[in-house]
Symmetry: C3
């Protein structure tokens, strides 16, 4: 199966049905002008393709696919199942989703379906089959695009159909005794005597059972994955040589267990949008891209959607500044994407996303956006030889969606002790140090990494814990953030001192979690500042690198002198524990020290630097200058693929160079 | 039909059923003492008047109307349909409204009915007919008061009955193809193949279809207007000489399209309440009054409700200070009201509004409120000759409820870019300049105005756009605020550069909207400060009056030197564009310059000044001094109708004078 | 009936079913090591005890009760009805509660039952009977524990079953005419013509009828009390010599009328948890304890639950500092508790409360918590002679749950004018003065108190008003806070000047309430500072102690010189009125002056001091030092029961002494 080709993909979602057919040839001509080579067609076309159950209207799709093929533009053809047409829920009212409070979600926007609905599943697989039968051999077809952003709007449904599916899912995993034991139902009189009594975690008088909530999150991710798989199987059956993908939202939405999803796609693709309130939006972009590369197992992947400029769904939608779209796109490519696609080709004139920017804006081709689009197409055209190369790293962060779900729910020691922001914080500290990092799953083979980090891994199974212990004993450097390894895969506390699963490898034994109130900080003996969290306990075999020193509340007195940051030598390796949440400068300093001691060097320049290399040694250094006002010298020998300029040289303000490195 | 009389109305809602009948004669005596000449009776009396379906009890109403008539007090008789009695929803459960989330709204407060309910409509029209038959000839009857504050609590209902009515409303306007085209349903797979599939914009997984939301807002205003019309038609049939009104809430609630409503009443009446958290509550009062005068087509109107002192529904209900009720009342009169009515005559001792002030407070007649009430009655009595006179202005603001609805919904470029506050901000700037302004509908005849302003008119039809273009070409001065003319009446973008509908008349072409984040500002080259919004583009035929200069974010660099405020000469007129939201001093300075250039002079004194004039030239200058501590000299020749004092003279601190102007 | 014994109770909730049976003997051994003598068993065991309707499994409970009895540990045996098992709501879906918006609350946490459900009531009483029959004679049984924290999660249910029960409750109190009169239904067209029309105050378009809301609050408290009484009656019938209790949450939750509840228990018990965001959490603890003592009529009571360290349900759950648990426990004992019990014995490893601290923490016995637990057990063992002694006071605060309900609802003059915080504020001022205060019900015999205070008693019946008047006339000192006595028991205004019911005794007549906006203050002539509230009026017979002087808003000018704090002499007594909400220092100064003038002395030392005395004169002075850093000298002669140290002496930092006072 040909997954990637010999050029960088460039293009985006193309929704020709929104425009009069006479304008289509002009669309294709403009695409060619811009260098577009791949468009996603049909994502929201179900209502048009199947206007009544089992009745299809394919003429318009035939015509546009032919036009695109004639123009040499490949098509990522959607199965069109992301959003069912209005007739479906009229015919099958129980296909509509229901939230935890019992509110039904109605048609009129998008994705109004219950993931467990047999009605939805039957209809969507039938449509996928019909499309594959008709277009499986079309010369424009480049890949299949199943659904869209699964889990973005309705990741979890609490209706009666979902309840029955949840019970089925549970029955496959537990007998009744095991369910009761795993969920700890002897607390609060929740013991089930029949599976028929089990429900989704709907609105309850007090806190819901945590393991019920966790299992429901697992179930919900699995249900949508089943929706995907149903269509994927049909596509594989009919078109075994056409790669199948669905676009993830890694780093933006956290309800899908993408480790499980990644195993089911031929090609990992991802959508990413910058939040304008985040002054470090470009670091979040790198985070999303690095997570996606992890999902692809380090292999290339594809940026399926981002934006040329503003989006429409934030409170205030600031456009991208001139040059920003180019930096964003090439950063994704630097971190493994085989191109840059956008939502969408042409800005809508009506509907809920009409203020979402596009390659062709409302203002038309006489616009700075269009000019930048054309320039980006040209740039990507020059990077053909980069395709197929990969990013490598010696540092890994362990990421687990299951752990995020278990951690980010009520009745925890502190509502501020969230996982997702700490994962981003550690990644950002490494970004500032100029260290490229991989993301790996718990239990993955980490033996090749010099340093492995667990910024916040609350839930850890015994099996996965053993992998970490062996890693350290074999000489690895492990860095563990606070509140990791506290519970097992059932969300049961590992008893006799925290962090239960990691107590031995870390050489510490903590007795109590001591959250800080909002805005409070604690100073450590090395001058670091902690927030949100502290722990009260002692070292067993570890040495104290920094102790709690001074703070604002009564606990500060009692904690003074107790261990805050520790280092344990075990076997041939080292295991660090950070029992508070360090502020960004302190975290950067600590991680800089640890990686330095492990022989991992940072970049040392105020540029975002990432390398992609081919197996034959050809290496490309992407250098992104986020400073819009000053050029930055870069002392690397080679040639910029984009301009032909020789290096060493300067990266211009706000600019990007892709240096084909001369190996000395 | 006699709509207004030869005296200023004074009085308010009178709910005698809340009090023992033996106290009624005392009520009437007190009314006479205070000079009350009009009371609204029966607004919430349905349950008492019709205790069971079709069974009526009119005795008490007979008696109080006779008492009032004997006391010489006119009655604004309510049709009593504002709040159905409990028996109605027990008999007809589907007459209860349902919100967008599916929550039913129950009896136990007021106005618990679905506007589309045939049950409610039948019952309310029947009650109106029965009342008109019985009291149509009563000597106390002065006018009819249909319903009450339509749309205040349940402007929009999402139940199945409403859904069916919405479909009927749509069918009258569109065939299915037109509906799909207008709503842009080809986006997000929303294409309808039958009207049966169409729903109100209930809770959806993502953003609802914007045009569906807009049409539902239109429908909802029209449905309540139909409720009103049903009763009005019966009243007109039975009592063709008695004027019919219903009290609006112009400037407070925005869900009813009052342009449509105003066309259906014999007498425009309005309720206004000051929000105590607003330090400029008196300016908001003027705004409300001016909008109401616009609804009355410049003719007199009637202040149906305001308060003598505190209300009960705000978080903190601060009473009016001594003198404030008088200033408020006379400001309404200055701006066109033929008197001042209040909610309510006597403060309730029980129920949800017992802490709402009244003419007769809990403390009784030995109270400062009662003394001020008596004084106000006396003042109004001296203004008899003012009745029938009108306010005129040379400046108009274009106001559109439809545009407000289209603009103030999610998935816009900025959630801060609301219309209602900008309308108020421009009105307030003119208020500070001492310029009285009219409000007009889009498409109205504006040829008589020297300056016409569109502070925020997002939605503009082609027909209405042409009126503006002709106005400028004929020598008018048009001032357009940012984000006006962006979409047509379908909420479709006018393409090829913003603001599409006004690009030519303004001589600008904008490419992108560039919102500011919360709290950010931008400085213009003339020293003005902008907030919330900026636009990126260029002038075509206009000249740049002020360019973007300096700001806090990255975009400021890219915008520097680009047009912010422009002026275009076109035909004999001038069209200004303000592409940001100016802060109050900057806006006041700009509008002062523009009106000055157009020959419109401000008052030049720190008083609120408004003129009412008769056709025969008799003119009354209302001067309100909002400074409670200092008198203000006023250089106008005439006599104060309230005190007989000669002018030129001084307006006392916190005082009001009504000068019958001596024409030189 | 033996209610209390000859020793202080020590222990807590013990949920053995959460742990393997082989660990139970170790639990009992540890309890003995810590001095535990009472454990509450079975609170959440319904699902285990009755796994199917009418089928019981008592083996495990037999065995643990025997083990406990063998270990000499008494049992507070729960009727296990706090949380129905899943099978109950599957069999009887209408036993689930529904909130005011119509959302059903589902099983999966705890207490998911409708208080009016006949299904729940029948099943719970049957279980209580079965348990009483089986264990009524068990040698471990010390007392019965009915339900748990009634009203904590679902104090009010709005379902159809509840609606019918509400109508029944109303029918017992009113005929239809009286209902309409009491609820003031002539306002807003709410007149009922049949009880079938009456509903709970479900979601309405505007403010619900206030008296309907008040009666529904009364009904809801009564319904849960009926649930309790149903079980209590069975227990009394079968085991007349075993005391029955249920644990209140006085001072934490306000939905139950504990005056009514207290009359129905043999032994008043209470749960209290400190909120970590409150820097005065220990004062709130004293407030809760003092209210509980009031509920017990001044007699001893029992602290049924508090925590050894952190809880799990606050946003940030900070553990108690070393020593804090001891101070908290002994403060409860000082204020009348016959011991200190905790939730729970052993920290759960699973479920929603696994992060709630316990006597035996996750870390096990090698922990500072366990060491402090053992120390506390030892301390309590030394206080055996204190049992049965009582606290006495010469100052009382009048507290009414009904009044709180009437006051704390929407459409009041100010949403900030809440009752519960003002009750706490006055109590805290007296706490700082070192004055122990009793809480009494309206209408209680207050003749023995030197000073009686009404910090915020909005609703006052005529009968209760007369008690206050007689108290003053007989020489008492009454201190009334603002917004007291405004309405009668129907929530009807007492007309002709505020505060209607207290106008005469206070010698003032107020005309208007003048709330302050958020953050505003007003200065009084004596330098005091007021917040939230002011009143405009005059004195009739009272003298002005402090007048309004100066503030930030326009009203300040008009209020200047008007009475703020007044004192009225009436008969032999004195009645003070405070018409604003004083800030803490001003309030402390005023209450210090008034109590001083009434001959009530404060403690004069920076220690929390409380005395318990036996009828024979033996007196114990509890002195708690909340300063963790400095010792405080205490000039009292006696011996510390805990250490044997002689006094006068010092109370160590963060320490507690219990001095058996030597009477000179």
């Amino acid at each position: 199966m040909l997954i990637y080709g010999d050029l960088m993909f460039f293009g985006g979602d193309y929704n020709p049905e929104q425009w009069p057919e006479q304008s289509w040839p002009d669309d294709v001509a403009r695409m060619r002008e811009a260098g577009v080579n791949l468009v996603t067609v049909g994502v929201f076309s179900w209502a048009l393709l199947e206007p009544a159950e089992g009745r299809y209207e394919f003429g318009w799709l035939d015509r546009i696919l032919d036009l695109l093929a004639d123009g040499g533009i490949g098509v990522d053809l959607a199965t069109a199942t992301a959003s069912p047409p209005p007739w479906l829920s009229v015919a099958y009212p129980d296909s509509l989703p229901v939230d935890a409070d019992g509110h039904r979600l109605w048609p009129g926007s998008r994705q109004a379906y219950c993931p467990s609905s047999p009605r939805y599943r039957t209809a969507s697989v039938r449509l996928a089959r019909t499309l594959a039968e008709r277009y499986g051999g079309h010369r424009a077809l480049r890949m299949w695009h199943v659904g869209n952003e699964y889990g973005c709007h309705v990741p979890r449904c609490y209706c009666d159909v979902s309840a029955e599916a949840f019970r089925t899912w549970l029955r496959e995993r537990y007998d009744l005794a095991a369910l009761n034991e795993t969920w700890g139902t002897r607390f609060w009189s929740q013991e089930y005597t029949s599976f028929d009594q089990v429900l989704p975690p709907r609105r309850t008088p007090a806190f819901s059972n945590p393991t019920q909530v966790l299992d429901f999150a697992r179930f919900s991710s699995a249900e949508l994955l089943d929706c995907y798989r149903g269509e994927r199987d049909v596509l594989r059956e009919l078109t075994p040589d056409v790669p199948v993908t669905t676009n993830f939202m890694a780093g933006m939405h956290w309800e899908m267990d993408y480790w499980a999803w990644a195993a089911e796609v031929d090609l990992v693709s991802n959508d990413h949008y910058i939040r304008v309130h985040d002054p470090h939006g470009h670091v979040n972009l790198a985070f999303s891209a690095d997570v996606t590369r992890g999902l692809a197992g380090g292999e290339p992947w594809l940026l399926m959607e981002h934006s040329t400029s503003a989006v429409n769904w934030q409170p205030r939608n600031v456009p991208k500044t001139p040059g920003q779209m180019r930096r964003n796109s090439l950063t994704h490519v630097a971190r493994g994407s085989e191109g840059a696609l956008f939502f969408q080709w042409r800005a809508s004139k009506a509907g809920a996303e009409k203020y979402h920017s596009a390659l062709l804006p409302h203002a038309g081709t006489d616009s700075r956006i269009w000019r930048e689009v054309v320039e980006l197409g040209s740039d990507l055209g020059k990077l053909a030889e980069v395709t197929g190369s990969v990013v490598s790293s010696t540092v890994a962060i362990v990421l687990s969606w299951e752990s995020v779900w278990a951690q980010e729910r009520p009745s925890q020691p502190s509502a501020d002790m969230t996982a997702t922001d700490e994962l981003a914080a550690w990644h950002a500290a490494l970004w500032r140090l100029g260290i490229t990092v991989d993301f790996v799953a718990p239990g993955a083979d980490i033996s090749g990494y010099r340093v492995v980090m667990l910024p916040s891994l609350y839930l850890l199974s015994g099996v996965d814990r053993d992998v970490l212990a062996r890693y350290v004993e074999s000489g690895g450097t492990l860095v563990v953030g606070a509140y990791s390894g506290v519970v097992d895969e059932r969300d049961h506390i590992v008893l006799d001192g925290y962090p239960g699963a990691l107590r031995e490898v870390l050489g510490v034994r903590m007795e109590e979690f001591v959250p800080l109130l909002d805005g409070q900080t604690i100073t450590l003996s090395d001058g670091s500042a902690g927030r949100v969290w502290r722990e009260f306990g002692r070292v067993t075999t570890a040495e104290v690198i920094a102790a709690y020193a001074d703070g604002e509340d009564a606990w500060s007195r009692w904690l003074a002198g107790h261990p805050a940051i520790t280092r344990n030598t075990r076997g041939d390796g080292t295991a660090w524990y950070v029992s508070t949440r360090l502020d960004p400068p302190s975290l950067e300093r600590l991680l800089g020290r640890i990686t330095g001691e492990a022989g991992v060097a940072g970049s040392g320049v105020p540029l975002e630097l990432v390398r992609r290399s081919h197996a034959d040694g050809r290496t490309y250094l992407f250098a992104i200058n986020h400073d819009e006002e000053g050029a930055v010298p870069l002392d690397v020998a080679g040639v910029d693929l984009l301009t032909g300029a020789d290096f060493p040289g300067e990266v211009p303000p706000g600019g990007v160079v892709v240096i084909k490195v001369v190996t000395p």
